[in-house]
Symmetry: C2
Subunit: 339 residues, 2 copies
């Protein structure tokens, strides 16, 4: 039990050969004779030798760790992304080190510091809501660590980026509402400084314009949680000219709307249509089931990880890629079928 760790030197001593030969034999270096390779491998197996990755990393000045910064872990979209990342990374021989920024700039700063100290091979990052300074990400690059942003990207830093097609997703959602007869479409958004808010808002606005529906600014609200939606929606419904439908920035908000609308005695989708944005099981638990824009977080994660690993391996060199992951409108029960 307290047996100290077996090293390459132990094997060398046991076999009366030099550590360098052992090292080469284990790595199938062509210089080493077949016989020696066999003997060494047998011995390594017998002593249940495990290569010390820490020593290896130091020697080689690199490691196989990918740092992942995620604003939240308990979150369908982000956990899907992490799953995509983990899958790709492990298939390519990389390990994933996971950090949660908790939507805090301070925490993000500490995390990037840790990542640099750990000399990770690469970083996959999504900005916290708070973050509006980017020096810490520049530092990552300065320390020769590869960097790819996903979802909440950073425009100021030149890197690869993977984003969801928020604009097209919102556009298709709102056009769907319009095609089913909706005309006064309320929009519940996140704070506007976030890229995703801007993009989805633009999709919303363009869908209206394309269909010659006047934009009514009084139908646009900042409201991005279930709780807030449950509070806000009754007021919105009792407006002099209430909306006939809602487009929500995420599914949680949409469930809050759904709850409030039903509570107000209105029928969904006959009286009021609702469309969310996110994907996941939540939409299926609703009654009626929620029409929503599926974001394919898993694809985002896989794509970002692949991009990063290619950079690390030096396959891609100078160029920087912007990858856009398509969304998909999932039409369900909270919207009407087109006439």
């Amino acid at each position: 039990m307290a047996k100290t760790q077996i090293t390459i030197i132990d094997i060398a001593r046991e076999l009366n050969i030099s550590p360098s030969t052992v090292s080469r034999a284990l790595r199938n270096h062509p210089d080493i004779s077949r016989k020696t390779v066999e003997i060494v491998k047998e011995c390594a197996e017998r002593l249940s030798y495990k290569p010390n990755e820490m020593a290896l990393n130091l020697r080689l000045g690199r490691n196989n760790i990918i740092g992942v910064i995620v604003p939240e872990i308990v979150h369908y979209f982000f956990s899907s992304i992490v799953q995509g990342i983990e899958e790709t990374a492990s298939a390519e021989g990389f390990n994933v080190m996971l950090f949660r920024s908790e939507e805090s700039y301070e925490k993000e700063l500490k995390i990037t510091e840790s990542l640099i100290n750990a000399r990770v091979a690469g970083v996959l990052a999504s900005l916290s809501k708070e973050t509006d300074r980017y020096e810490h990400y520049q530092q990552i690059l300065d320390n020769d660590i590869k960097l790819v942003f996903y979802d909440r990207i950073c425009i100021g830093i030149i890197t690869d980026r993977v984003v969801v097609d928020d604009y097209a997703g919102a556009l298709s959602a709102v056009e769907h509402l319009i095609s089913t007869g909706c005309r006064r479409i309320a929009f519940y958004s996140s704070p506007l400084h976030l890229e995703i808010s801007k993009n989805r808002r633009n999709g919303y606005l363009d869908a209206l314009r394309k269909n010659s529906i006047p934009v009514d600014e009084s139908l646009i609200f900042v409201c991005d949680t279930r709780e807030k939606a449950m509070e806000l929606t009754p007021q919105v419904l009792s407006l002099p000219e209430p909306p006939d439908s809602f487009f929500a920035i995420n599914d949680h908000t949409a469930t809050g709307i759904l709850y409030a609308v039903k509570k107000a005695g209105l029928r969904v989708p006959e009286d009021i249509s609702i469309c969310g944005f996110s994907g996941g099981d939540l939409a299926l638990a609703c009654d009626p089931m929620l029409t929503t824009v599926e974001q394919h977080g898993y694809e985002v994660g896989k794509t970002a990880a692949k991009l990063l690993i290619d950079k690390i391996k030096g396959i891609t060199h100078g160029q920087y890629t912007n990858r856009i992951i398509k969304t998909k409108l999932m039409v369900r029960g909270t919207t009407k079928t087109a006439p």
Copy 2:
């Protein structure tokens, strides 16, 4: 940009002192004079020196990495656990390396191999559904890596363990159903070889016995997904003596039941009561909102991480702890209020 990494030796050269002095100064070793410490720290800051953790780890023969094996990532309970782990770890200066076993023994084997090679300080593991051999976990211990099991524990290996109180959770859920007048309570369970199934089943059975309700085996089913529940439930409802309520092994299954019951034209909870097991947002999206047993995954994660870190730090020594995290029944709309 391509400036090679700054080391302690660069600082030493710059200041015409020895690397050992620099090292000690940066670590506030008491032997070093205040003045030297200041000079060194200033210089380190100026050159934006970042300690190379790989070198440190090799030298000290340890690192600050906690390996986490989780069967699934996109999963409310498990992601809550991961969040609890990450939070505790980062507060204590540890980093989290995340692996997904995908419920596969083969994958679990590869993961433990990676973890040993990486010489992580400790491992937090939950068994995959497939796993029924445990040598790989014994190997972890043999390599002097601390190990704590959570949720899906391994009885054969002597370690600390953190589990959810499945028995008490199920007991309280079923007693609640009984107290609201239910007598024929159907139970939708996972495959019985899993500990959690056994424990919850025992809770279910004991609740019936305690209240002198005869156990009807024909009301117990293996059914643990939303899809299966949507398929099975109509048949169950059309039994000659149908149940008046359902207790489901998880919330996904419960939402499937809810859907089928409503579709059959029955009212919830007036005609049929439903209770799930899991916690999370899903329960709130249902209409009526789902009564369920909250598992406190976050607490599980925090507790397991704390236990592991104490072991790593050598605070706890020989003893092995079994920690049980209490569940909490969240009574909502799918069950009646007690008369």
